[in-house]
Symmetry: C2
Subunit: 324 residues, 2 copies
Amino acid sequence: MSRRELVTPRRGVSFSDVKNRWKKIAIVGSGALGCYYGAMLQRAGAQVVFLMRSDRDVVSEKGLRVMTPSGNFSLPAVNVAGSSEEIGVCDLVIVALKTTANAEFLKLVGPLLHEDTAILTLQNGLGSDEELAALFGAKRVMGGLCFICVNRTAPGEILCITPGSISLGEFGCPITERLTAVSELFAQAGVKTRMDDDLAGLRWKKLVWNVPFNGLAIAAGGITTENILAQPVLEAEVRALMKEIIEAAAKIGHVIPLSSIEEQIEHTRPMGPYQPSSLIDYRENRPVEVEAIWGEPLRRAREVGAVVPKLELLYALLVRLTKR
Amino acid sequence: MSRRELVTPRRGVSFSDVKNRWKKIAIVGSGALGCYYGAMLQRAGAQVVFLMRSDRDVVSEKGLRVMTPSGNFSLPAVNVAGSSEEIGVCDLVIVALKTTANAEFLKLVGPLLHEDTAILTLQNGLGSDEELAALFGAKRVMGGLCFICVNRTAPGEILCITPGSISLGEFGCPITERLTAVSELFAQAGVKTRMDDDLAGLRWKKLVWNVPFNGLAIAAGGITTENILAQPVLEAEVRALMKEIIEAAAKIGHVIPLSSIEEQIEHTRPMGPYQPSSLIDYRENRPVEVEAIWGEPLRRAREVGAVVPKLELLYALLVRLTKR
């Protein structure tokens, strides 16, 4: 078994049945993504503490407001903290930091851990699982790939355009009872999840889209996915980059069918003038996750002797373009 | 014999000895390059007519002023024309247009030709020789690659920073007596030239530099050659692009040694914060010679089955980046 169907709340199981396992949950990195999932969990009844910087005062006073396609809700009272020491140990740490802040793992995650604390990183690209494992032990680490479109519209205001789902996997081992319990936690809170035995494979699969679209959106001058696909020579490069990623993943041992190139292109076309997250970061002068999305995949591809000339060039351009 | 030494004026030969062969010379495309060479030829005693648009009135009234490292000179009276009909037939037509204006060849060059008129294109990249040959007959066409640094500082004012030299070749045949006479013409006027049996080879050789440096200067965000070489991952891409061009040229039949990669890099390093011509065009919102420098080389590489993945990606980015 490698991939499982969408997890939905089991009949007759209430949130109180699952929340004993995850009594206290910390959200490390309370941007749009962290706030959205944290708010969904809190709304369902979980005890959530948000580690927060810039929006701390506003959220502490006014709480969170979440707008979703299926309705809006407010959480007037939200636990926010400015440091991990303030939060103390938790049962589940959800890491929703940008990967460009991974150097702060020790400081931000360390104080949250008791002996059995599980860490779920919802970060993009490659590298975070290994970094967390190296610091805190591989056994703690799970990863989730978020297929979601969510923005922070104001301090404490989260707009979820597409709730999508999370694909969950254990780091370095197949699906466990613990992963299933995390999946159940989210499902009970109204967040769709899937589980997979191959977390790294999930990451490579997401890179098949992120590498070309996030990268070309920046390198071709700050353009949307629609602009990319409107230029035949660029669409050809999207396909060629996807092929490089699929072939590198295959050499590493993650099988992604070549047919997914066509699927991903056809899935992207109806998205219209979509701005990949890296493009938004780039435009707003925020750090771009260059190493997680392009650098680390490139290094791993080279390690196994995969031929990735276009990834090399794209990475080099992005290193320079995102230099501040 | 493939390459010849620098041509210098022969002892005892005066300009009047060579100018009988080239009685009337037209400069088509009177930008910095066209004005510089036209002015040098006129100063030596040749009859030169400049086809000129934007600067026509100023130059017609005030003439040309040329500043060079070895001294400045002025030509108070310069023949300028606004149309080729006005100029009439010539013995030598020097084409110094941007390749992005090649669609105007018929209109601009056609009226200048008598039965024996020779055409010398000083344009960059690939394609101009063939386009002129298709329109006016291959026998008329010669090409020259200009290694020069020259700018137009004001209407009628030309600043030559590095006079460099011109590498000349016949289109589709080895060095002829005619090419030698053109070479002599320039040499007598103080312009260093070399001759080569393989004009297309000369063009590919120049592309080894132009493809990476002109391309990455634009695609990496509008940066100088110094900035490119300051970023190790970009320097690696320069080398890799040079290798692609050299291997494509070899497949077509033009041998360029791989050692020229190192030579070109080491030659570029002392140039400091140099802006390749395409970057200047891009920054000043003028058309960039995307097809001549990247598009046509890419198509010819593909025709012979050369593998040029980085050139493909760079070309696709430039097509989009230079779209107005």
